[in-house]
Amino acid sequence: MSTIQILFFFLSVLAIFSAIMVLISKNPVHSVLWLIAVFFAISGHYILLNAQFLAIVNLIVYAGAIMVLFLFVIMLMNLNADSEPRKHQWMKIAGVISGGCFLMVLISLVRQTVEITGKTALVKEGNIGLIKNLGKVLFSDFVVPFEISSVLFLSAMVGAVVIGKKD
């Protein structure tokens, strides 16, 4: 087993374990901390795929900004394990069964697909994930969506202020 395979399985197991811990933690603050672990594992996967720009953006935007926002809101509301709303036991079982059925259907679908047999994702090589190449394409072919996304941010900012305002 090569180093890359060991890293892949380690990061995958870490991400799946942390994702399960997000679900079963009673305290919302612990859920947020486990979700940050998932994002770090996914950033590790991006680095493994040599998508360095996305790895850094994932860390800055998700683990840095979005999760701090979540943590801030949870602490503002003073939520803890006692204020956690309870759900019926059979509703939980039904949710897990339907999610598992969804997973089984998709896995059997992937197993039957002939188009992807023998295909491999290029690991550790290829330089399309570097910021130089991404920036060239972003500011030539994708410049209109990029500018539209700035308008989206402006409207989201105004919307958040208007919704969050008192009365």
Binding site: I66, F70, P85
Partner: protein, 111 residues
Amino acid sequence: MPIQYYIYFCLTLFSIGIIGVLTRRNAIIVFMCIELMLNAVNLLLVAFSKMHHGAALAANPASTAGIDGQLFVFFIMVVAAAEVSVGLAIIVMMYRNTHSVDINFLNRLKN
């Protein structure tokens, strides 16, 4: 690395997100599970982009095929950041009105 491994891993993460949305009643946890599903899709997009890049690299060493997938991931992150700010504002407003983050309060939208 075979592409199937990435597909199975991302499907598992996505299904965990779905199970979280179905089983939890805390609105913030539901929102976090949606973020988890978005990240699973992002990782799969990057894996597919590297798959196409690897195939195109064999024919032409200077090819940049597959770069669109990584830019799509960038735009998904942009939209997710905007979505989180508005969504958390809605949750704060809901908490201010009902003093709870239970999503069952949202099954009737009036009052």
